[in-house]
């Protein structure tokens, strides 16, 4: 695994991505009414986690991802450890595969997120099907994937703006 330390001195502000992801987990659990009752949610914390892992992975260490995932599971009612495992898989994929290209251009980031989101939802569907002992109704997973893909650009734009304001160095 390559070194993930950032050259930018972060200090206490380094906690911003972590707090944003926690905020994302809480907001995503609220009744936003964006799925038209289709029983799908907004993968907000996944978008935030993906964005910051692609930009500044040193600010979201594995234990932080574990905590964010557990918080997400406590709010959504999912089995403990499921979301944390998915986030850790995203981290491993981004770092091990050396795919920092996701932070080089918006379009690459968007395509990368779409692929990652599909992978995470497939992983969750498989684990939940094993957990509950039967294959789950799949359409809501596709709707959640669609919501995630559509929601990525505005949320990534806000995160990018925050990145610039807080850390000052524009990347990508």
């Amino acid at each position: 695994m390559r070194s993930t330390s950032s050259k930018v001195p972060h200090g206490i502000l380094g906690i911003v991505p972590f707090l944003l992801a926690i905020f994302g987990a809480v907001v995503a659990s609220l009744p936003l009414g964006i799925d038209g009752g289709a029983n799908a949610g907004l993968p907000l914390s996944l978008i935030i986690v993906f964005f910051w892992l692609a930009r500044r992975p040193g600010l979201l260490p594995s234990l932080a991802l574990l905590f964010i995932g557990l918080m997400h599971d406590a709010l959504s009612g999912a089995p403990f450890g499921l979301t944390a495992l998915a986030f850790l898989a995203v981290r491993a994929f981004i770092l091990e595969q050396n795919v920092f290209a996701f932070s080089q251009s918006f379009l690459l980031g968007w395509i990368g997120f779409a692929a990652m989101c599909a992978g995470v939802l497939l992983f969750e569907w498989l684990v939940m099907s094993w957990y509950l002992g039967k294959f789950l109704f799949a359409p809501p997973f596709f709707i959640e994937l669609l919501i995630g893909i559509l929601a990525y650009p505005p949320i990534a734009a806000i995160c990018g703006w925050l990145d610039f304001k807080v850390f000052g160095i524009r990347k990508g």
Binding site: M1, S3, S29, L30, L75, P79, L88, E124, Y131, L132
Partner: protein, 296 residues
């Protein structure tokens, strides 16, 4: 000197990489362990989630306030825009309800008299706890919602949860100040029900779709679309005759129930403090007088 510095830097980087790898392995190990323990012992998930939910619910309520306010403003605007139409509708409904009131009182009296004649115990209204649904109930794999009332308010597991339209589910786990309700649409939900028009009994099974299915219905049933489904009271978790929804028949012939409550828009709900009747072996033995039961 520069070689020593370079070597020190290399060692530091190596140590950092090693630490990150250990950090990653530890996090994966903890996640997997939690997942497996949760699979083996379902109560573990519920207990752990209840602890975190106690902290998360106030945060969710605080962050969710703008959404609640936006909803209230939207309701106000809607009420203003359709004020006259809405007023006329409500007045008509009020008149209809007033006309029904004497008939209702008559039926209540008649019901009490008949129960008295049959020596049935009187129907008692269980006390309720009002709570707010804090989180969105749906996710692709679960239908549960967090409520802002917990053990400190008297909430206990298995208590039925209703909203103004009908049954929405039952309490799954309880924290100090929050609880989680399992909705009737969830894959794990099973509710004994009765079709009001025919008296047929069945089990309402959630399958994560918006319309749970009616299972274990007699083969010779006469259920048709639009029939009302209520709780049967079997099993003791739900009191009898709580409204659930109306029947619908799919093209495949499968019977489903359209819940009266809109699960995607839950707001305020009531938790019925319904005490499950004690099992026969737990009941106090009743002392029978010696001469009772003997023929006169």
């Amino acid at each position: 000197m520069s070689r020593i510095l370079r070597r020190t830097n290399e060692n530091a980087t190596l140590a950092q990489m090693l630490l990150q790898r250990l950090d990653f392995i530890a996090a994966v190990f903890i996640s997997l362990a939690l997942l497996i323990v949760g699979k083996i012992d379902d109560g573990f998930n519920q207990r752990a989630q209840a602890v975190i939910a106690d902290v998360a619910v106030p945060a969710a309520e605080f962050i969710g306030k703008p959404i609640v306010w936006a909803g209230e403003i939207s309701d106000l605007v809607n009420a203003y825009l359709v004020e006259s139409e809405e007023n006329a509708r409500m007045q008509a409904e009020n008149t209809r309800l007033r006309q029904l009131e004497p008939r209702l009182l008559q039926l209540i009296n008649e019901n009490e008299r008949l129960r008295d004649l049959l020596s049935l115990p009187p129907v008692t209204d269980s006390p309720v706890i009002t709570a707010r649904s804090v989180t969105y109930p749906g996710s692709p794999f679960l239908w549960t919602t967090l409520l802002d009332a917990g053990a400190a308010d008297g909430v206990k597991p298995y208590q039925p949860v209703i909203d103004h339209n009908g049954v929405i589910g039952r309490i799954l786990s309880v924290g100090d100040s929050s609880s989680r309700a399992l909705l009737i649409t969830d894959l794990n939900s099973r509710v004994p029900v009765m079709v009001l028009e025919t008296g047929d009994r069945a089990i309402l099974e959630g399958d994560n779709s918006r319309k749970p299915q009616l299972a274990f219905l007699e083969a010779a049933h006469k259920v048709e679309p639009g029939f009302r489904v209520v709780t049967s009271g079997d099993g003791g978790v739900f009191p009898p005759l709580l409204p659930i929804g109306v029947t619908e028949i799919e093209e495949t012939g499968m019977l489903r129930v359209v819940p009266s409550a809109d699960m995607a828009r839950l707001e305020y709900v009531q938790i019925i403090q319904h005490e499950e009747p004690a099992a026969p072996e737990e009941q106090e033995p009743v002392a029978v007088p010696e001469n009772e039961g003997a023929n006169p």
